[in-house]
Subunit: 398 residues, 2 copies
């Protein structure tokens, strides 16, 4: 039966080299039992974990699968500086890609799954230039990998909502076409009218009963103000647990008192945060967010596209980057990054995720002496399991 | 004859996908000719570059080969915070490593070479606890890989010079035992007497006619003051081109005017700088240093040791980190990082390094559409050539 599986010889996190590996029996897509040596019931397939570290599967909580050029011929970065130029550069180039959106998104989602992420939230650009074409490509990628990963799609107004007539209608059409959440983009800094931008976003979310995920690069007091505007709307519409702020640079560009106020506000309204471990921007206050109970996830962002040459589909590599960028050396802090990249992102997406009996059997086995060693080694994943089925092995999609 | 080699099918940097690959003939350890299709003289071995990108070999301008635990069983990070605790933690643990210094250093130097670095400057800790044991281990690693890489060794007073009686004598003994340069460590912040610390370092360098490479983590005006002290001594002893400041956090922690003064001072006295692309510290002003003509190299720093779990012997990975941490997206900036990691470090070590006819045939072939794509992909190196001999292929040491 699908979703039944015996995984032999893994060391579930937390683990130690001193503790012998165990077996994991999955049944009906759930973790059924964990034991020293389990027998496979008749007909149940067996997969060899080879003594690797067992983690909940990675969650890519913030991807842009629609723009990826991964494994296509490399194109030099052609954008000037600034958000507007990045947007325009993408518009100038995306139609000339050697493959269509669906094929590119499907390929990169496959690489993402093969690297151990089976929960994915992807934004899909919706604008007057591309209409719903990018969204449909991401939905096709989700369909192509159904059974291998759980994918949420955000209707993302990458070019603003108010700057170009017809965008709000396209966002609504996107929700009707299968998008799960309504996105937003710098309501003040880019779209120039924060209250009105957010009213469009939250009205659509309320009308269609969907979640919200807003890109907020605006920093300092302007960004902080918009964090408040978002929390106010989450409260007014009773959307606790349904709203995410992506990037949230405001949190790391205000003083410590203001930062504490914002973190408390996010916790109070259960508004989640995602980061992409940016290299040059100030890191988010990861520990403060977690201490306050704010749901916090990690994402790949763009994956080798017209925005940036970085990204490779590998959330373990991204986890390494989060640890490196924060200067973490202690194992507990590096494991916190793993927790953000697995359970944290799953909580942003509203999924139960873990290694306990009864939890969905969404798992990844990574070679390594310990969890921290596995992050440092970034070796190909031994096994990736979703819903109790092996979906990738040895770094390759099955 | 050793040092004779024909490399088929490579695309020398700068390159383009549109330009067909060329062949490189090496003779007597030098690049003899570059041409569309060259014939191998009788008896000259042929290596296949498989159409990859050809770069000068990487230069690891700042390593700590003596402390590495790469590929030994992983040990959780056991140090508290602060430089003193890191030093003491290493002292508590290093003698219990499963392998001796020479074996560990030899292994990690081999991994470094296999990843494409054939010019290496390694610090070796000299202190009253370890005496010359760590230095001798690094010298043994150099000997084990002679012919595969050119290695400089710095007699490095990791525990200060003035804090423990006998250290200065050990440094002098280290120079007699084969160390190439005299090191130093935070003359003010750690050793508490900057003028006296630097006088010991420069007196030894002058007496034995060796170079100097000082670790300077001290930031802000205290660090800037010590940059001045170092430049003053370089001038007084006529040591232009013989002095390096490692880390040099002062440069990124003073205001723009002061930063310009310091950069100009380094250029005036031809004092070089190395960085290790630290994740959490403010990056050095890379462009300003290069515009001013300051020699600038990149290093691995510690490689999975009691100081930090990071590092894997791969200077291409480190180059990626330098680009990522600086937020570089433009190909020209990412290629600048490659230049720092190859020619830049070589200039710090006083080596001629490049892809021109007559230059030493120290080369690496990396799979990738372009140089930037090669940095992003970080694929195993196709070929590593040192002195016209293939020393590694397919990511494995020969």
């Amino acid at each position: 039966m699908t979703g039944d599986l015996l995984i032999r010889s893994v060391r579930p996190w937390p683990n130690s080299l001193d503790v012998p590996p165990v077996d994991i029996l999955c049944s009906g897509g759930l973790v059924a039992s964990i034991g020293a040596t389990l027998d496979a019931p008749p007909g149940v397939p067996v997969a060899d974990g080879k003594g690797g570290v067992l983690l909940p599967s990675f969650t890519d909580a913030h991807a842009h699968l629609d723009s990826t050029r991964l494994d296509l011929p490399f194109r030099p970065h052609s954008a000037g500086t600034g958000l507007n130029e990045l947007i325009e550069n993408d518009r100038r180039n995306w139609r000339t890609a050697e493959r269509g959106v669906a094929e590119r998104a499907t390929h990169t989602l496959g690489r993402t799954i093969a690297s151990g992420a089976t929960l994915v939230r992807s934004h899909a650009q919706v604008d007057v230039d591309s209409g719903l074409e990018k969204l449909e490509g991401v939905l096709a990628a989700r369909e192509a990998h159904s059974g291998r990963a759980s994918v949420e799609v955000v209707a993302f107004p990458q070019c603003g909502i108010l700057r170009e007539k017809g965008t709000a209608d396209l966002l609504e059409a996107a929700l009707r076409a299968g998008a799960d959440l309504v996105g937003g983009l710098d309501p003040a800094g880019y779209d120039r009218d924060p209250a009105r931008h957010l009213d469009v976003v939250f009205d659509l979310a309320d009308k269609h009963q969907r979640g919200v995920d807003v890109h907020l690069h605006d920093a300092g007091s302007l960004g902080a103000f918009q964090v408040e505007l978002i929390c106010e709307r989450a409260a007014a519409l009773d959307m606790r647990g349904q709203v995410t702020i992506s990037h949230a640079f405001a949190l790391s560009t205000v003083d410590a008192d203001r930062q504490r106020e914002l973190v408390d506000l996010l916790a109070e309204h259960d508004v989640a945060v995602t980061t992409v471990a940016p290299g040059a921007r100030e890191p988010l206050p990861l520990r403060q967010l977690r201490w306050a109970g704010v749901r916090l996830g990690l994402g790949q962002d763009g994956i080798r596209d017209y925005w940036s040459p970085y990204g490779n589909g590998d959330m373990l590599d991204r986890t390494w980057q989060l640890a490196y960028r924060n200067g973490f050396r202690q194992d507990a802090l590096i494991e916190m990054c793993v927790d953000i990249a697995t359970r944290g992102g799953a909580s942003v997406m509203g999924h139960t995720h873990g290694l306990t009996e009864g939890a969905p059997a969404n798992l990844v086995v990574v070679p390594g002496d310990t969890v921290t060693a596995a992050v440092m080694d970034r070796a190909p994943r031994t096994l990736v399991v979703h819903g109790g089925n092996v979906v990738a092995a040895g770094g390759e999609l099955l």
